[in-house]
Every structure is written in C-alpha cells, then in structure tokens.
Symmetry: C2
Subunit: 355 residues, 2 copies
C-alpha cells in the first residue's frame, strides 16, 4: 500500500477564519505532517475538543513549512503583508485569505470550482490569494451559468453576517442583543458606541457599509465583488454593480443576485445547470417553503441556491438567492481546497514532499 504523502502546514491567525481553517483541515483529513499555529501572541486554544498551542509568529517559524494558510483580517493589512515573503523564502506556498494580494496580476486568485488552472501562476511569487467571502459564493453559483450562457451583467445586493467582520463583530452583536433583552426590547437604540467594532449598531439594524468607502462612493466590499469576479472569471467585460449590507445574523451571507446572459437560456436549463454542479446545492421548492437560509447554511460546506426566477419583463434575466457559510466556503474551506488543489496538481516547484 502506497504511503500517503504528508505536508507541514502552518495556520496563521486564530480569529473566526483561523479557527475554521483548523476545523476544515481536520474534518477533511488533510494530509498534515506537522501543524503549526501562529498568532501575534502565544496562547492555548481548543477547537472541537482538540487542543492547539499557538506560537508567536516569526519568520523562522516557517522553516520546514510546505503550506502556510494565512487567515487574514478584514479592515486592516493582514499578517501576510509582513510574513508571506518570509514563509515563501523558507519554501512554503502561502494561501492568503486577506485582501492585500488579491489584485496583484502576478498572484492567482482562486476558487477551485471556477479557475483551478490559474493556480500555476503561484510559481511567480509563491502566494495564492483567497477571494472575498461574498465573491466566492457568488462566482461558484454563477460559473456553471457563465460557461454555457455567458453572463453579461450582474446586479447584486448582499445580506452579510457579523462573522464576516471577525469574532469581535459577533461579540458586538451578542452584547447588543443581551443589553436590549435585559431592557425587554423597549427602546432598541444603543447609545454607547464605545464598544463597537462595526461602524454601527447591528442588533435590530441593517447598514450598507462593509469595508471602507472608496471610488465613486462604493465601499471596498462592493468593489471587491466587481474586481475579484472579473479576475476569477477572466472577464472584465461583465457589468457588475453591488450594494453590500450587514444584517444581524451570526454566520451565513445571503445574496440577491440578478443576472443577464448573452446567450438564450431557459429557466429550466439554468436550474439544471445549478443542480448538476458540484459545490452547489439547489434548495428551491417554494411550495414547501424551501429556499436557502443562513441558519441552515452555518457550518455547512455548500453554496446554497434558491428562489431561481426569470425576470418577467426582460429576456435572459434571472434572480438567484445565494447563501453560504462565509467562514467556510467564503474563507477557510476555500483556502483549504486551494491547498488540496496544489497537492492534486502536484505543484512541486514549491512544495517539498515529506518522504
């Protein structure tokens, strides 16, 4: 019997995404040789009953590592800016969930279901970027349609969960809800902004502000959905415009995605494409009150699609309601799948195989 090859893996960051990376590696039986967990400060953590000793990050810590998964951070430069080059110098391939490298033309931006071949570009800099959570679930849902019918336009509104902004954003939501619960949900406005990590109160609220404000008053999150989709789908001709909003949900982003295709396609054909695509779970039975929900998606791997309808007034125009766990397919799972792809493609120039 052939002995499986094993790889030394580092996970950098133990926030919401880092924890989920550790979970995915274990659940998927990733062929881990040695596992090292790094963060700014050392500590002991426990994930699903398993103990991990977190070490302080240092350039030397990457010696002997084959694959370094950087959990990244939202809203600030990720650890990868300081340490990715150090890891690569020591022979690792870096898979970075942060936003810092995504638009670098010499760094591939990968969703394994969509553009697996692009991964070869990682030979240039030794870094692979993991896309934004909202982008990943959208392109997974749209790719099978695009391959057949060529999408020419995307208009998308998002309903994004707190955990997309990290553990502390989830804590903010819970604290706000507890405070309001203690007062019997009378006045729902929380005046104390001191403890906020999000730009607004999230309990009993919705705010269209994810990331910072950028060109033409779109947010960075809205631009990510445009530019990352263009890069991943190899088509900057698609007209994409987004409004991204945060909703009081723990985990699971929803997206109301409206598309127009260039080629004729029927509603039934489109549903069949979705049904027959790996990673997509079609949940679309209105008569049974079945459509994707964030509380159902949390902890699951798929991209759930439902409420598939055609625009009654516009030809080849359709709605899709796309829901996925933003920490899994939207972040950690996609990163681990990229690592699996690296192994499957035997990209050996960078990965040293442990005998």
């Amino acid at each position: 019997m052939k002995k499986n090859k094993l790889y030394n893996v580092a996970v950098v960051g133990v926030g919401a995404v880092g924890i989920e990376m550790l979970r995915c590696l274990k659940q998927r039986h990733f062929p881990v040789g040695e596992l090292r967990v790094f963060a700014r400060s050392p500590r002991d953590i426990e994930v699903d009953g398993e103990k991990y000793s977190v070490k302080a990050i240092s350039p030397e810590g990457f010696t002997g590592i084959d694959i370094a998964l950087f959990a990244g951070t939202e809203g600030e430069k990720g650890a990868a800016v300081s340490f990715a080059a150090e890891a690569v110098k020591r022979g690792a391939v870096v898979i970075d969930n942060g936003a810092d490298f995504r638009m670098d033309p010499e760094i591939p931006l990968i969703v394994p279901e969509v553009n697996p071949k692009d991964i070869k570009l990682c030979r240039k800099k030794g870094i692979i970027a993991n896309p934004n959570c909202s982008t990943i679930q959208m392109v997974v849902a749209l790719w099978p349609i695009h391959k057949i019918a060529k999408i020419k336009r995307i208009i998308v509104s998002t309903y994004q969960a707190a955990s997309g902004a990290g553990k502390s954003a989830v804590e903010q939501l819970k604290k706000e809800l507890s405070a309001l619960n203690n007062k019997g949900y009378e006045d729902l406005k929380i005046s104390d902004a001191q403890e906020r990590v999000l730009p607004q109160q999230l309990a009993f609220n919705v705010f269209p502000h994810i990331g910072g404000f950028a060109e033409e008053d779109y947010t960075s999150e809205e631009w990510k959905m445009v530019k990352e989709t263009h890069k991943i789908m190899h088509s900057d001709k698609i007209k994409i415009s987004a409004t991204t909003a945060r909703v009081p949900v723990r985990t699971g982003h929803c997206e109301a995605v409206y598309i127009e295709t260039k080629k004729d396609i029927s509603l039934e054909q489109l549903k069949d494409l979705l049904k027959n695509s790996a990673s997509i779970v079609l949940v679309d039975s209105p008569k049974d009150n079945l459509y994707p929900l964030p509380v159902d998606a949390e902890g699951k791997d798929g991209v759930f699609v439902g409420r598939v309808r055609k625009d009654p007034f516009v030809k080849n125009a359709f709605w899709l309601w796309v829901v996925s766990d933003n920490l899994r397919k939207g972040a950690a799972l996609n990163a681990v799948e990229i690592a699996e792809l690296l192994i499957a493609k035997k990209i050996k120039c960078l990965i040293k195989v442990i005998p």
Copy 2:
C-alpha cells in the same frame, strides 16, 4: 375666526398599523370630531398615555362616520372585505391599508406625493387603497427622478422588518432572541416551530419569503412592488423585478434600489432632485458614516435615501438605499395623509362636513 371643520373618524383594527394610525391622527392634529375604534373583539387600549375604548366592529358602527381607516392585515383578507361596503353605504369614505382592493381599476391607489389627482376616482366606490409598505417608500424616492428622467427599469432587493407582518411577528422575533440569549447564543437554531407566525425563524436569520408564493415563483410581496408601482406611477412600461426578504429588525424597511433612466441625468442632478423633494430626507455622507438606517428611521415620518451612486459600467443607472418606517409612511401615516388629501381636495360627494 373661521371654525375648523371636524370629521368623524373610525379606525378599524388595533394591531401594529391601527395603533400607529391612532398615533398619527393625534400627532398631526387631524381634525377629528368623534373617534371610534373598532376591532373584532372589544377591549380597552392605551397608546402614548391616551386611552381608547375599542368596540366590536359592526355595520351599524359606521353610521355617522366620515372617514374610515382600515388598518388591514397581512396574509389574509382584511376586515375591509366584510365591512368597507357597509361603511360606504352609511356615507363614509374608506381608506384601506389591506391588499384586497389595491388592483381594482375602480379604486384609487394613492401615495399623496406621487398621484394625488387619482383620489377623485374614489367617487366610484367610496374606497381608497393604501399601497404596500415596500411600494410606498420606493415610489416616494423614485417619483422625483421619474418626473424628470423617466425611469425605465427597477431592480430592487428588500430588507424588511418584522413589524411589516404585524405585532405577533415582532413578538416571535423577541421570543426567539430571548430564548437564544438564555442559552448564551450557543446553538442559534430554534427547533420549536409551534409559535411561529412567520414562515421561518427570524432571529439570526434572513428569509426571502414575504406573503405567499405566486406566479412564476415570485412572492405576492414581490408582485405588489411591480403591479402597485405600475398603477401608482401610471406606467406599466417600467420593467420592475424584486426580491423581498425579511430581516431580524423590528421596524424600518430597507431597499437596495437599482434604476435605469431613459433620459440622461447626472449623479449630482439626481441627488439635487432627492434633496429638494418633500418627504425625502437625503442622508448621504459616506465619509461621516452617514446613510439611512432602520434604527434611525423608526418612529419618523420621512423616506430616507442614501448611498446614491451611479453604476460605473452602465449609463444612466443608479443605486439608492431607501429606508422608511414601514408602519408610518409605509402604512398608517400614508393612510392619514390620504385622509388629509381628501379634506384638502374637498371631495364633498362623500364626506359630510360636520357644521
């Protein structure tokens, strides 16, 4: 000094909208002569410190009433189906917040800012319909743009509050949140569906299901936004398509509205139109984190608009983030404003003036 004329008013229903109708009548110093409050069963209620004696509804109760405001119900046939004709027979004008009469070509569907002249049609049947909450705030925001630049297309996704489905839906949300709070927000799934009035758990969830499912798998709420907008704006040429979703918010609907205009219009012109329109409050200063929010809109009268942007790829295409209190401008306030319009227009054929 001329003595003000007074009108005998009936409010039918004391759910979320009925209560808000009583509030609006008082806050706006509506010229009420006698006020009668009706519901299925009699009871005493208190609104903002004022006591109201609720009588059981009966045809005879409308004798002598000039204006009957029916609060309506969501999801079932409203009281107006049984009692509107009785009220009209006795000389009242009925303003119905329910959905039953909205699409009747002999009944006007009124948003005073948009189609005040249509009110004259009420002479036909003595009934005026109050539009759906999501429709009202959208058409108020879009009308000034439509007047100048002709809107040819609307693609809208909504983020609708619990109170749009009534008091019991708000109670469901609070109960779910209290139950989750008691368990420290560990598992967020509520298995007990027994007490649900909404089709799904609302706490920590979003569901794209408002009203019932209808033609082409759109919900009744989604069709309302299409058909009511066509009727109110006198233009069934506008291509409208909607996805409507419920979010864990008490009051205040948000809408991500994407429009295309027929005529050229610049972003600045468009913002100026919004700024100079009564009932619209432009809240659009991204650099100061200012945009409309449901927690800010609750209890207020305006339609709040922000995040106004142009599509970078499509000419004369724009986003607006539209927020309003669904119980006020979305329901009760608009109904009371219709009553004020009746008086201002001196539609005397039906209204008997008390000397």
